[in-house]
Symmetry: D2
Subunit: 303 residues, 4 copies
Amino acid sequence: MGILRLSHVEVRCPDLELSTAYYTEVMGLIETAVEDEAVYLKGWDEQQHHSLILRYAPTYGVERVGFKVQHAEDLDELTSAIEGYGIATKRFAAGELGPGSGETVRFVAPSGHTIELVHGMEQIGNALPLHNPPPEPQGLSGMHPPRIDHVFLMCEDVDEITRFYTEVLGFRLTEQIVADDGHQLATFLERTHTAHDIAFIVGPDAAFHHVAYWVDDWNDLRRSADIAAYHGVRIDAGPTRHGATRGWGLYFFDPAGNRNEVYTGGYWADPDREPITWTEAQMGRAVFYYEGVVDQNFLTVHS
Amino acid sequence: MGILRLSHVEVRCPDLELSTAYYTEVMGLIETAVEDEAVYLKGWDEQQHHSLILRYAPTYGVERVGFKVQHAEDLDELTSAIEGYGIATKRFAAGELGPGSGETVRFVAPSGHTIELVHGMEQIGNALPLHNPPPEPQGLSGMHPPRIDHVFLMCEDVDEITRFYTEVLGFRLTEQIVADDGHQLATFLERTHTAHDIAFIVGPDAAFHHVAYWVDDWNDLRRSADIAAYHGVRIDAGPTRHGATRGWGLYFFDPAGNRNEVYTGGYWADPDREPITWTEAQMGRAVFYYEGVVDQNFLTVHS
Amino acid sequence: MGILRLSHVEVRCPDLELSTAYYTEVMGLIETAVEDEAVYLKGWDEQQHHSLILRYAPTYGVERVGFKVQHAEDLDELTSAIEGYGIATKRFAAGELGPGSGETVRFVAPSGHTIELVHGMEQIGNALPLHNPPPEPQGLSGMHPPRIDHVFLMCEDVDEITRFYTEVLGFRLTEQIVADDGHQLATFLERTHTAHDIAFIVGPDAAFHHVAYWVDDWNDLRRSADIAAYHGVRIDAGPTRHGATRGWGLYFFDPAGNRNEVYTGGYWADPDREPITWTEAQMGRAVFYYEGVVDQNFLTVHS
Amino acid sequence: MGILRLSHVEVRCPDLELSTAYYTEVMGLIETAVEDEAVYLKGWDEQQHHSLILRYAPTYGVERVGFKVQHAEDLDELTSAIEGYGIATKRFAAGELGPGSGETVRFVAPSGHTIELVHGMEQIGNALPLHNPPPEPQGLSGMHPPRIDHVFLMCEDVDEITRFYTEVLGFRLTEQIVADDGHQLATFLERTHTAHDIAFIVGPDAAFHHVAYWVDDWNDLRRSADIAAYHGVRIDAGPTRHGATRGWGLYFFDPAGNRNEVYTGGYWADPDREPITWTEAQMGRAVFYYEGVVDQNFLTVHS
């Protein structure tokens, strides 16, 4: 009940054609709809209409982040909770927000990001038959991750946004990086019993750090790095391991400058599991377990 | 709300000492308690007191299967549903069923298996610190899977037990193998949004097919096979891929004759995803995607 | 000096078109020449004109096995040694034996197989530039192994053929399976300091067991098995580990019935390394380390 | 005939005890002999007495590099060639240079490094039985690479040292990085038909860049990085891919400051294969294919 998982992320890009070529040929996402100023994409195994929207804009950054709720009534309950917190919401009917869109509640979270809760996005299947399917369709291109995994955002007050996500939206805290003065520098939050569906790190409000797609294993990170390098895509970090989440990831940039990740690993998190805390002194290991230090670019290159 | 995941499986073994040596040294589970006639074990990353109980008995087989519920109230709601279906239940207080046990509702499902629903099993941690943990403790032995994944049982009427698990216990059907006459030969059921937490295949009532622990990737299946072979453990099948669930697995036997699996892969399953159907003619591929045929042993060796 | 490595294998097939489709699309070899009754193929990273020849014939089996020598003079020295052993040889000029062929010495070994020693086969490159190459060309299909690895043949007298290969051709014995009566059941022989370039197992003279192409790792065996299963290719065994050679392999059949393997792993073997001996009782583990038994098909399905 | 492969590397370290702990527990090499001022180590699968010598010295760096020759006569032939080039050599009897040492020819190469050619180093086995061996001994620690792979040295005149290694010592050039002015910036040289047994990069004469041990696959690089990070070992770069050699590697430092690598992948190189050339502009990709740039540390941190 409540939020099921991360549904979609909308990113800005000044050159839609170039970004579409990158996301379909290098990332290997599936294009599902095109509008004048937007392109809709999904991971090959996703049943839903889209998990990524490219939106024409003069610069890069994140426009919206959407979460899927399981039941139609969840929209009402969550609306009450959000408005009870003092935040206005707006409701959209299915289809009103573009191709495939479901019934949607939209609001601006305390971090400055526009958030959507959606029920009933159009289901379009994963290109495999429902009878005797092979494990993967033929003819996929590039990295071709099966599905979206998590989004990483920035904001000034991580303590506050963490309270909002846990108390109002029902997320659970799995890990946190805590400054010596007691403030949260980064928090990892989940609804899927994985290490994170969304995370926040200290930075400017409304800023975007990265969107991550799932790949199946460490070998796929190598394959993804080969593909990125072959196409001249700038790799930011990895393949490496994260201390926080225990996962493995590869970071790189889309043509607009939005950071992407392909990610795998992590763990199952029961709701009654204690959160893990990383101290400020160990922030390097929390982010890049092998290198032990966080490159300044990693914290400052964002929208 | 409702059942969160598979919690524990209790298997029978005539030689507790031998089986304990196997499960701790070859499988690499962690021993957490010993009684006269039972040994309690868990995967290293599990926070709960146990996920496997070895119970002294003259032969092999499954004694009980337990599911974890998220909230204490779930026990009441599920009890009502089960009794409404005409099945008697019995309630046990925390601790009453042995070391670490939580508050428990026990009943016999239509498949003949004894099922437990549990809330509040003792949490004992995963041996990693809650501050700045490394990704894995040192000194693990054998295959050392982090956690239990699923259980596979047999019964005569798969259609009926599938109805019971979906309508009464709230499971969702992800995949099924359907006979030419329309009956279900096997069904895969989930609560964790994975391909399966429990599955049933046609066979004698109350019979056990296997219990599976999760490992992180295809490479761990190879490592596990090396370990099994080194210790002279009989490997039943694999490393191979399953058509159903798309996962990869390795089957082998404990000293008592209980089949074990280490499993990885699979997919995320939204609750509104359509089930996949395998036809009887393709049952071979559904079970063993590479070989394309099911060895008779695989269907007949059980308790 | 002497034989450098396995150069090429020529197999028989009654349907050249079908076999070509299989070897290019499923195995992913590169077609380099076509004649009326023969098709020439190579692994993508091979510089030489071909490593596999498909030869029209009413049934399956091996027609010829070729080894590459490093220097032109090696042909003369090896000719002397072979003729000194009492075996007639025949010399062919470069190009005389078909497209790309080098200067060749041909003879029939005591095992009944036609063997060729070749120098100067045409070099045609690996499709990568010689300046700033990426690690792999784009657009490869199927399993696309980079190169041939070894060939496995059958004959009645393994002791004799092993003596011939070591004393006359300069191979070194790395491993052997020895019967309780002291005869060799199988021997593994190398010139490349790997675990084997050619191996023999007891069976009918002139019979073919399999030809193996190298793939880079265990993950490629999984990928290869997925590809084989997708195309309905019959998988004979694996992915599994061999006790002898320590390598990992996947066995499957071409449309004519010739057994193929994709293989990886193994070890470096110094020339002064002692051979490893497997006893008859452990032959199962020597061949299939995980299963511990050799399926009768594996020994009897051959040409 | 001639040089067979890299045999051993002797590195300097000011704290023998600390370095020994690192090389045995983190790298997982096997200690085979201890002297007052030297410790002898080998990869677990090596038959020879040692492939690494730790030599007490006030600072880090490389003391000697040794190559194994196949035949005793190779020592005489290579001595003639070296002295013909105008370099003095010194001969040592087996055992004279310390535990396990074979008959040795020592000289100072034009790069300023002390080089040894050795025949008949003591063979001590790999701890596996010669009958029915498992694929790996039990109880290995740390990364436990099976064997040494290559050594990477620095010198001022890479053109000259490359001529010396190819024309005098019989190495073959597989790859080179060439400056815009036509000078060689780095060269990769082999005797084992792999991408390199030794390589040179422009830098101070007699300087050491790294010694690399082989691991079996990309997954072992991850495992090695986990081990390095766990023990607080400073990781310099990787897991990453090299453009030159196509291999994958992980760089890190021993306690004295000597750079180590664990390496896998690469290719088979026939002696008649054309060398690959990297331009100065693509030097970044040649060294770090994913990152595309060479960190200055990588070129300047050396002994």
